[in-house]
């Protein structure tokens, strides 16, 4: 009985340790600047996507997903040029409200993500 109770105590402590931990990890690699800007607007037609972070990013293990006005999604290819803190791609869009969801792996192993809603202006 004593042994079982001790085990219960150990399990309770373990679980208590897990309790109020939350979603801070989302804030690790932060987006310092982006084109398109968050809630910004771009001209219709071809344009560059440029995202700069506060830390070195593992580009091969990161991704960009474009959500179109009709909610369909498209994987944006990430180019391999540029400095280690930058993700770049190309888009060619018609007028409407879009969003880019980014997910990056920082070199120190933290996975973070965020959204960049933006508008493509009408001609």
């Amino acid at each position: 009985m004593q042994k079982i109770s001790r085990r219960i105590l150990a399990i309770s402590l373990g679980v208590a340790m897990l309790l109020p931990l939350s979603r801070k990890a989302e804030a690790h690699a932060i987006l310092l600047e982006s084109t398109p800007a968050i809630d910004g607007s771009v001209k219709p037609g071809p344009s560059a996507v440029h995202l700069r972070y506060n830390s070195r990013i593992d580009r091969a293990r990161s991704r960009l997903i474009l959500t179109r006005p009709d909610k369909s999604t498209e994987l944006l290819p990430i180019t391999t040029e540029g400095s280690d803190d930058v993700l770049t791609s190309q888009i060619d869009l018609a007028a409407g409200h879009y969003s880019i969801r980014w997910q990056v792996l920082a070199v120190d192993g933290h996975i973070t993500r965020g959204d960049i809603p933006f508008t493509v202006e009408a001609r």
């Binding site: 931990l21 091969a60 803190d85």
Partner: protein
């Protein structure tokens, strides 16, 4: 599984696993150093048993490190495979995964050597493997991903972890050694040498922390204006607590040298508390690695004026807003009305738990949350006051643990208004939301430990471990609260809340360990600790009563 939920869950679990990893890593390296610097060279004075126990402890710690590191690599790889469509090999090619695999390999060999050879484990290979662990661990710190000043920051990260391992990682072996040795010569030998080892560890921590402050925090306003700064200050506060306890042990060694061994039990008790506070620091460190350094957060810093304004005392909110004016019920009512107007089969849900989006909030939600914190403050202050009265000799006040039951019922009903029984969301459906899950389990634990402590107080439970449940859960809860952040999209608001939660956590940790000291020691020390912990509870209650979100 929903991919967004997977990334959320990864962020959540990775902090916990990282905390456990730091504990295991420090105990492995600290244990190995304790073995080769203290236990083996002094075996003639303290006997062979200390070295045998230390080697076994380090072996188990290395094994635990392998498990923790494997969990980290597996978690990261599975998230990358699921969300970026990578093969297992590609996912394991990430720098951090390679560092993790190196730690697993080194840990396995280290553990095998210590298990197989015990105190005869070869010194050079064991210390080299410990070095591999430290270097690989350094490659998963902030420094590894920095663009500027990387060399100096990598060196500081290495030194910081080494210092933590020598000092905090060595304390479990120290406590075990104090229990194994039974004469004054032995205690003196162990105490004096570990004191010197601790000083080296403290020096490593202080030098590296100064470098972090210079490069990662940089400006005084970042100390209170960013999450990184606040967490670093909390770590510093606990570091000061540890130093005070360490100084107590240093004094005890001096008294031993003078010929008195009355200080030995005190040394043991202080060292036990040092383990608890030291491990709390490790979990705070795990949380710290997941927030960006202050220097990167140029916008959204909280100003001193905002801190003062938010914390200026105001009368607590004792009346709750109505449930139907909260943001989610109001939005759901609007969606329901729209669906009815369009003759749709069913309305969209105002909030889908686990979908990766934060729920909407309005002024009534803030009032709701403040009301919850203020009433929780009333409960906690009452617990502290009753415990004080009980300490003064008033017998009926010994039933104070039952007040926790009131707090548990209150939290169950109020903490998540969108969830059953108050809201539309089903009980099990809501458990997909990590914050709701935490709240629910917290309620369960509050009920459990209040009943434990109540039975202890009324004398129904005589076992030696039952009284330890309350202080341990209080201290562990405080440590976990240190890493808690409210899921609020506004960075500034989230930080202003964290500024209140950090002192709450520190006082809870202090209360838990003061109660521990009351139980585990005797004489004046026990009496002082017995008066202190209810006072810490009252302080927690008063901070809650002054809590505001706007």
């Amino acid at each position: 599984m929903d991919l967004n939920l997977l990334v959320d869950l990864f962020g959540y679990l990775s902090i916990i696993v990282h905390g456990c990893t730091i504990v295991a890593q420090s105990m492995t390296i600290g244990g190995a150093l304790f073995l080769f610097i203290l236990a083996l060279p002094m075996a003639s004075k303290i006997g062979p048993q200390v070295a045998i126990s230390t080697a076994r402890m380090a072996a188990w710690a290395a094994f635990a490190l392998v498990i923790c590191e494997a969990a980290t690599v597996a978690l990261q790889a599975s998230v990358l495979m699921a969300t970026v469509d990578l093969s297992l090999l590609d996912a394991l090619g990430a720098t951090s995964a390679e560092a993790g695999l190196a730690k697993i390999g080194a840990g396995l060999v280290l553990s095998a050597l210590l298990f197989a050879y015990g105190t005869a484990a070869p010194r050079v290979p064991v210390l080299l493997l410990a070095l591999v662990e430290l270097v690989a661990a350094t490659m998963t710190t902030h420094a590894a991903a920095r663009l500027d000043d990387q060399a100096v920051l990598l060196a500081a990260s290495f030194l910081h972890q080494l210092g933590a391992a020598i000092w905090i990682g060595g304390i479990p072996a120290f406590v075990s050694a104090l229990g194994t040795v039974h004469d004054r010569t032995g205690w003196l030998a162990v105490g004096a040498r570990f004191s010197r080892m601790s000083m080296v560890g403290v020096a490593c921590i202080v030098v590296s922390a100064a470098a972090f402050t210079f490069y990662y925090i940089a400006a005084p306003d970042a100390l209170y204006g960013t999450a990184y700064g606040v967490m670093a200050m909390a770590k510093a506060a606990m570091f000061v607590m540890l130093l005070a306890l360490g100084y107590g042990n240093f004094r005890a060694v001096e008294r031993l040298k003078a010929g008195s061994d009355v200080a030995v039990p005190r040394m043991k008790r202080f060292a036990e508390i040092e383990i608890g506070i030291g491990f709390s620091i490790f979990f705070a460190a795990a949380s710290l690695t997941s927030v960006p350094p202050s220097v990167d957060l140029v916008n959204d810093r909280v100003s001193w004026h905002e801190v003062v304004e938010r914390n200026a005392p105001v009368w607590p909110r004792m009346v709750s807003p109505q449930h139907d004016v909260l943001a989610l019920p109001a939005l759901q009512a609007k969606l329901d009305a729209e669906a009815a107007a369009q003759h749709a089969d069913h309305a969209d849900a105002a909030f889908v738990p686990g979908a990766g989006f934060l729920p909407v909030r309005n002024a009534a939600d803030i009032a709701w949350s403040e009301f919850n914190h203020h009433w929780a403050g009333v409960f906690v202050t009452l617990i502290g006051l009753l415990a004080l009265i009980n300490q003064a000799g008033v017998r009926w006040a010994r039933h104070w643990p039952l007040v926790f039951l009131g707090l548990a019922v209150f939290l169950f009903l109020r903490s998540d208004p969108e969830v059953w029984p108050m809201g539309d969301e089903g009980f099990f459906e809501s458990l997909r939301d990590i914050e709701v899950l935490q709240h629910r389990f917290f309620v369960f634990l509050t009920v459990a430990f209040s009943l434990f402590e109540w039975r202890v107080r009324v004398g129904g439970w005589k076992s030696s471990w039952a009284p330890k449940v309350f202080p341990l859960l209080t201290a562990v809860g405080g440590a976990a609260l240190l890493t808690h952040s409210h899921a609020i999209s506004n960075v500034k608001d989230a930080l202003l809340i964290e500024l209140t939660h950090t002192p709450l956590a520190l006082f809870a940790i202090a209360a838990g360990w003061a109660r521990w000291l009351e139980i585990r020691s005797d004489g004046k020390l026990s009496r002082v600790a017995g008066w202190l912990w209810p006072v810490f509870f009252i302080v927690v209650g008063l901070i809650l009563l002054d809590y505001r979100e706007a």
